[in-house]
């Protein structure tokens, strides 16, 4: 293997947004974005995990993948919720996490905030656009 390279990121805090626009299971993007979010927690950055379009289906309650023989990763979003709570509670940590659902996407699919496995902020597109515009890094899957 080639030599490992690391950058000095000490003291830098940026706003990361993870944009989820794809349904789970049909493709792997939802799962692998989630893995990226979880790994990023160690870096203590700000993170907004956003569900837009079919991405809102990723956090729908009641998923049961036994019959398609795939891994049900919907419960793992609970870890994001815990990371968010840790960040909210720890005053020494400069780290804010948000879990956001776009209202228009949710409503077009006949869903409400009660349908999700995690607590979310539901924002109309105009407000979400403002949050998006403030980000330093946007990662899309």
């Amino acid at each position: 293997m080639s030599e490992e390279i690391e950058f000095d990121t000490a003291g830098i805090t940026k706003k990361f947004m993870y944009v989820n626009r794809k349904a789970p299971y049909g493709t792997i993007y939802a799962l692998e974005v989630l893995e990226a979010v979880l790994i990023s927690a160690a870096f203590e950055q700000h993170a907004a995990i956003v569900f837009i379009d079919d991405g809102v289906y990723q956090i729908k309650k009641g998923q049961d993948t036994a019959a398609i023989n795939m891994k049900n990763f919907s419960k793992t979003y609970g870890i994001i919720e815990m990371e968010k709570e840790d960040a909210d509670e720890d005053e020494d940590m400069d780290m804010v996490w948000r879990i956001i659902v776009e209202k228009e996407s949710m409503e077009a699919r006949g869903l409400s905030a009660d349908d999700f496995v995690v607590d979310v902020e539901v924002l109309p597109s105009a407000e979400l656009a403002k949050v998006m515009a403030e980000q330093d890094v946007v990662i899309s899957g």
Binding site: A23, K60, K61, A67, A108, R109, G110
Partner: protein, 100 residues
């Protein structure tokens, strides 16, 4: 001929193209991300409701379960099948057109 659709109707144009290019009476099976089209109360329910009047419509149960869609959330006029039912449909209806 039987048509299959495995794409979300919100993300892609597969459902629209299938409905435009399938003959009335030919069955349509929704699977994978295509099953979202079968749910009640969405922005495409009108389109899908009209389609149920023109085509025998089916949806993959295992894909509904995986995505957390209960059977009582499936629109009227759409029959839930499993993989064995998918095989039976293909045996019965001949050529398969997959709207990838």
């Amino acid at each position: 001929m039987i048509h299959t659709i495995n794409k979300s109707p919100f993300e892609r144009n597969s459902l629209d193209s299938c409905l435009r290019l399938s003959e009335k009476g030919s069955p349509i099976l929704l699977l994978e991300d295509g099953v979202y089209a079968a749910t009640k109360g969405t922005s495409v329910s009108g389109t899908v409701g009209t389609a149920t009047g023109e085509h025998p419509m089916f949806v993959m149960g295992p894909d509904l379960q995986a995505r957390g869609i209960a059977e009582d959330q499936v629109m009227d006029g759409i029959t839930v099948v499993d993989y064995g039912g998918f095989v039976d449909l293909v045996v019965e209806h001949g050529t398969v057109q997959s709207w990838l």
